[in-house]
Amino acid sequence: MSLFSHFDYWVMIFLAMAGLFIVIARGNLIKKLVGLGIFQTSVYLLYLAPGKIVGGTAPIIDAAFKVYSNPLPHVLILTAIVVGVATLALGLALVVRIREAYGTIEEDELLRHEAPDAGGESRP
């Protein structure tokens, strides 16, 4: 069945859509970051799943093995994970500062605080 032969992609698409939906639909700034994290994680699957070859082993050359899995996706995704961690940490730090400056982390309340097109100068 072709539907199940690509089930890893279906999982990836589901996770990506779930994450993106949270980013768009939730008003809480921390929940948005969680959604963003799920979205980024789904991409890891896109890289990692095809890298595994059934019956393949770690790519260390040895006479006993013929089939090796591709190690490159792991390296790439390790980098992507680091980027994801940095993004999340920076995002949370911004949320902490926003909380201190505005007293709330709900998007609708923030928008009420600062009409985005007011354009004037608010307090420093």
């Binding site: 990506a16 993106l20 980013v23 700034l29 948005k32 963003l36 979205f39 980024q40 991409v43 896109l46 890289y47 095809p50 790439l76 980098t79 992507a80 980027v83 940095a86 993004t87 920076l90 995002g91 911004l94 949320v95 500062r97 926003i98 400056a101 505005y102 923030l110 600062e114 985005p116 354009g119 004037g120 100068e121 608010s122 307090r123 420093p124």
Partner: protein, 494 residues
């Protein structure tokens, strides 16, 4: 060891090394001196490489001596040499300005971290322009993006935090789209080297994943370059960031994203696949026109000058994308020329606005009333840049619009010529709003003690204004390089 052979690596590594060193020093003067040295060295390197590329063709550098396509390749061709020179040149001018500018805007004990972030952002932007590896491009994109979120959040206004958060969300979604696109390409071709990828794409038989990759890359990069209607993050980010950061990002960040788009469209997918088999040209034409008109119209109704000119940036990106949509050498020349000219103009404009901000405490139209009398030189500079945004002959903006119009006439699309001129009239309207407030309104009572901008702010700003006028009169550097880059992208010369 000869230094000349390692210029491509040093281009990125010098600013990259300056960042942690600045953190180690923990002293704002020492950090400034160090980052300044690295930035100026980077500019010198980019000029040297530009000359080398013009004389003897593309440079290739194998990081870690792993030959491409296995290792990461740094590749400098006509287009990337120009972008490298633009980015490092703007940084070399903006950084001296930073020292005087952030004094008022950022807490002193954070200054060394500011310089470290600036160096990181610079090396990220340079890295995007130099790398020949798709995943490496994503990593550099994130280095520059993460540091620019931090730089924007340092703004004095508390809305800078919201702007940075919004940019972080949008930017990360864009970057993730780019990774998905790169991942699909990697699945189909088994390589990450851009040149190798383009060769192997020829023999890929199933087109659907490649199309999906093209779609993801287009949307992801469009988010980064603030193509209308994906520009929502840009006005707030530019308006509330520290002045020097606004100038640096406005001049470089979106331009480097345009570079990435050109690179993927023309060097990887190939012009034929993108424009001949798909209606991408019409698609980009519509978005570019919408950006030119809608963003300009929105700009007319802004009261904060930084926001006004940020919306104008979105409109100007419309012109840049319009050039791509022509899919001709003249069109691409216009794109690349406008990339440089707009960067210089907007950089100068935001530097001057920073000087106004420092003197008057704000840049709303109400606050700058009568500024023409107390800061005549700064005001004149802003008007000059405004003329360049409109496209008046004798300024850089004219040259790029001229090439856009030439490209439109080549295609026989006279209605487009008319629309380009019409959209320039909208630029007249928003520039006029500043002129009216600056020269024809009675100054506020408390303007008496306002002085002309200090030399530390004025000199870098006027260097950029000078470049704006210079590129309008002598086009040998800009148009010459742009024409070479355009010919290379369309495959006429390697």
């Amino acid at each position: 060891m000869s230094v000349a052979a390692h210029l491509p690596a040093l281009q990125v590594v010098l600013p990259l090394a300056a960042a942690p060193l600045a953190v180690l020093l923990r002293n704002r003067t020492a950090a400034f001196a160090l980052v300044l040295a690295a930035t100026w060295a980077a500019f010198a390197i980019s000029v040297l490489m530009w000359q080398q590329v013009a004389a003897s063709g593309p440079l290739s550098y194998a990081l870690g001596s792993w030959p491409p396509p296995w290792g990461i390749e740094y590749r400098v061709d006509a287009l990337s040499a120009l972008v490298l020179m633009l980015v490092s040149g703007v940084a070399a001018v903006v950084l001296p300005y930073c020292r005087a500018s952030i004094e008022r805007e950022i807490r002193r004990d954070n200054h060394y971290l500011f310089y470290a972030m600036f160096a990181l952002c610079l090396s990220g932007l340079l890295g995007i322009a130099i790398t020949g590896d798709a995943f490496n491009l994503f990593v550099f994109l994130e280095i520059s993006s993460l540091s620019s979120y931090v730089l924007i959040a340092l703004g004095r206004d508390r809305r800078a935090l919201l702007a940075a958060y919004q940019y972080l969300i949008m930017g990360t979604i864009g970057a993730t789209f780019i990774v998905i696109g790169v991942g699909l390409l990697y699945l189909m071709t088994g390589t990450l080297n851009l040149a190798d990828m383009s060769v192997r794409l020829q023999s890929v038989t199933s087109h659907r994943p490649v199309l999906a990759a093209l779609a993801f890359l287009t949307v992801g990069i469009s988010l980064k370059l603030a193509l209308f209607p994906l520009h929502q993050w840009l006005p707030n980010a530019y308006a509330y960031a520290p002045s020097a950061v606004s100038a640096f990002l406005a001049a470089t960040a979106t331009k480097v994203s345009v570079y990435a788009l050109l690179r993927f469209y023309f060097s990887v997918f190939g012009e034929g696949a993108v424009f001949k088999q798909l209606p991408m040209a019409e698609f980009m034409l519509v978005l570019a026109l919408a950006g030119m008109f809608v963003a300009s119209a929105v700009a007319i109704f802004q009261d904060n000058l930084k926001r006004l000119f940020a919306y104008s940036s979105v409109a100007q990106i419309g012109y840049i994308v319009l050039g791509i949509s022509f899919d001709s050498v003249t069109g691409l020349t216009a794109t690349v020329v406008h990339l440089v000219n707009h960067a210089v103009t907007k950089g100068a404009l935001f530097l001057l606005l920073g000087a106004v901000m420092a003197a008057m405490g704000g840049v709303t139209l109400a606050r700058v009333r009568g500024i023409g009398r107390v800061m005549p030189r700064t005001t004149f500079g802003i008007v000059l840049c405004g003329l360049s945004l409109i496209g008046v002959p004798g300024t850089a903006g004219f040259v790029s619009k001229w090439y856009l119009i030439l490209a439109a006439m080549e295609k026989g699309q006279w209605w487009l010529v008319f629309l380009i001129v019409l959209s320039s009239l909208l630029a007249v309207a928003y520039v006029w709003r500043f002129v009216e407030a600056a020269y024809f309104r009675a100054p506020r009572a408390d303007l008496a003690q306002v002085r002309e901008a200090p030399l530390a702010l004025a000199l870098p700003a006027w260097l950029m204004v000078g470049a704006t006028v210079w590129f309008g009169l002598d086009t040998s550097v800009t148009v010459g390089s742009a024409a070479r880059a355009a010919a290379m992208l369309l495959g006429a010369v390697p």
